[in-house]
């Protein structure tokens, strides 16, 4: 399963509460589209730490890394040392 798919599945189940998957584009802004609310960002951080076994630094919790499926996947890949 790709990182994108894992992120989409997590967001759909935990924020959208849907069974029909993630209906937004991979570039859609979580906050602007109301997909994830402001406290939900901290849940996303815990999700990537546990799922991908990475340590997220406070200063890495910025929209550039967390505000869409594609941003988050790119960030996780970077942390894992995988090519983009």
């Amino acid at each position: 399963m790709t990182i994108e798919t894992q992120v989409k599945q997590y967001v759909a189940e935990n924020f959208l509460f849907t069974d029909d998957g993630y209906r937004f584009s991979e570039d859609a802004s979580f906050l602007e589209e109301g997909i994830v609310d402001s406290t939900g960002v901290l849940e996303l951080v815990m999700f990537v730490e546990e799922t991908f076994d990475i340590a997220v630094q406070d200063e890495e919790i910025v929209p550039e890394n967390f505000d869409s499926v594609s941003c988050l996947a790119a960030y996780v890949r970077h942390k894992l040392g995988q090519p983009a």
Binding site: F17, E32, D37, T39, D58, E59, V62
Partner: protein
């Protein structure tokens, strides 16, 4: 003085000073004044008349700021609606205040069209942001923000408003479950903002960061106050990305940081060493009390900044503040009446009580607002005749006590209202949404202690005849409630405890 004079006076005194920083945009007072004037002409040309309500359903943004001042300049009354509000409640609010026009995001074009069909008073909507231009083809009563400002001159329109007119309605949760619009006259807003500026010693050198929604009076007043004292407002969409906000605070040399306990709890968990926050002059807390341990920890993290503990309610904006030099002596107090006002405590029989006795906090001053929009009954319960003829004083609904030196301590609310993330949540409103789910026969909502949220929302439901999962319940809640009202916990029960008269007894949960 009128509320729009805050902007107009600063545009004359501090013409080319940066007034607003939002995302990558930086606007001077003159630029905001010109945009608000242009938009005010557009509103008037499309039928907005003196006293008409115009809703602003937008995230914190430049357009929201311009809309607020444009509505005032068009002699209208602005109504800021939380951007996470769902369709049914948005329609309720717009119908309740009989809004004439609506500002919203371009991505909400189809929602705007649906809302227009459901709200007969609504004549048009202004769409903001990237997708606004394309969206304006959805209906001929939808206009793109940018098109409107381009079409009108930057000259200030004539405005018949006087300070007895209403400036805004601020919707707040009511114990009945239906939101109520607190009516603020221009004179109330001018007085309340002046009193707060006085005790915070704000000057035009202050740079204030606002992460709170403008629909929340605490967030709205950051904008109004900064524009009044000619400072700079750094407007953030939220506190979702604390590191990004802290970086912005460092680079903009922010001096004022208003927060609520949830925000401070998050800050206290972070390592702040990577950020230079030495410019910070003050922090303010309100909406709910900070635990004394957090007060100590915050002062250790920001020893160079002053911390103000405050208390207030939308019905009079701000009520009490603690002088920072009293914080060590009485960390549990929220202080004394704000400048130019007075408060006292009354028992159930209406007698004023002295130190050590608990009773309801009663508030007197020009910050006491005009009551609830078109709800004379609830208004009469909370706003009652005062000591001088024609005056009205506010019964807060909160139990307080006072120490020997007159400092006040919050004890509890008289009703069962929940405070989560600093926002008021009506259990009844959440219960009404739960009861709308097929199969839910009983529902009760309470607040439970939570280290970050203050109170987390817990729902108890009794389900009959159908299979419902926690996810089913939450899907429904998310579709109908603002995000801060969605329960964190759902517990299924076979029955709920009842009183002798058959009402659900929450103390047994």
């Amino acid at each position: 003085m009128l509320v729009q004079d805050f902007l107009q006076d600063s545009a004359e005194r501090f013409t080319d000073k940066t007034a607003l920083i939002c995302d990558s945009q930086r606007l001077t007072y003159a630029e905001i004044e010109a945009l608000a004037n242009r938009m005010a002409h557009a509103l008037v040309a499309r039928g907005v008349q003196r006293g008409d309500r115009v809703a602003v359903f937008l995230p914190n943004s430049v357009e929201a700021v311009v809309a607020i001042f444009a509505i005032l300049k068009a002699a209208g009354v602005f109504v800021v609606v939380n951007p996470t509000t769902k369709r049914d409640k948005l329609i309720y609010i717009l119908r309740n205040c009989r809004a004439t026009a609506l500002f919203t995001s371009g991505r909400n074009a189809s929602l705007a069209a649906q809302v227009q069909a459901a709200v007969p008073s609504l004549q048009f909507a202004v769409l903001c942001g990237r997708r606004a231009a394309a969206a304006s083809v959805v209906a001929d009563t939808l206009y793109a923000f940018d098109d409107l400002v381009r079409a009108y001159p930057p000259t200030r329109p004539a405005c018949p408003t006087i300070d007895q007119d209403l400036a805004c309605l601020i919707y707040t949760s009511g114990s009945t479950g239906e939101p109520k619009g607190v009516m603020s006259g221009h004179n109330n807003v001018v007085f309340a903002s002046g009193s707060i500026i006085q005790y915070l010693d704000n000057t035009s050198d202050d740079i204030v960061v606002n992460v709170l929604p403008l629909s929340f009076d605490y967030g709205l007043y950051q904008l109004l106050m900064v524009f009044r004292f000619g400072g700079t407002l750094v407007l953030e969409r939220s506190f979702a990305y604390p590191a990004a906000v802290l970086k912005r605070m460092e680079s903009e040399r922010v001096t004022g940081f208003p927060g609520v306990p949830t925000i401070f709890a998050i800050l206290l968990q972070m390592d702040l060493n990577p950020y230079d926050l030495s410019s910070l002059r003050y922090l303010t807390n309100t909406a709910a009390a900070l635990p004394p341990s957090h007060i100590v920890a915050l002062r250790q993290k920001f020893p160079w900044a002053t911390l103000y503990s405050m208390y207030g309610l939308t019905e009079c904006k701000r009520t009490l503040y603690l002088l920072p030099d009293q914080l060590d002596k009485r960390p549990g107090s929220v202080g004394i009446a704000i400048p130019g006002t007075e408060v006292w405590i009354e028992d159930d029989r209406g007698n004023r009580v002295g130190p050590g006795v608990s009773g309801e906090l009663v508030i007197r001053g020009s910050h006491v607002m005009r009551g609830y929009w078109e709800d004379p009954e609830t208004t009469a319960e909370r706003y009652r005749p005062g000591p001088t003829p024609g005056e009205r004083i506010l019964y807060s609904g909160d139990l307080f006590k006072m120490d020997e030196e007159g400092y006040l301590y919050f004890i509890a609310r008289k009703d069962d209202m929940i405070k989560s993330r600093g926002e008021k949540v009506s259990p009844k409103e959440v219960e009404n949404v739960l009861y709308a789910i097929d199969g839910v026969v009983e529902a009760a909502v309470i607040g439970v202690p939570d280290p970050i949220l203050g109170q987390a929302i817990k729902a108890f439901v009794v389900v009959e005849g159908v299979d419902l999962t926690e996810k089913d319940i939450l899907v429904h809640c998310r579709a109908h409630l603002e995000s801060f009202m969605v329960p964190q916990y759902v517990e299924f029960r076979s029955g709920l405890p009842k009183t002798g008269s058959g009402k659900i007894k929450k103390t047994g949960l």
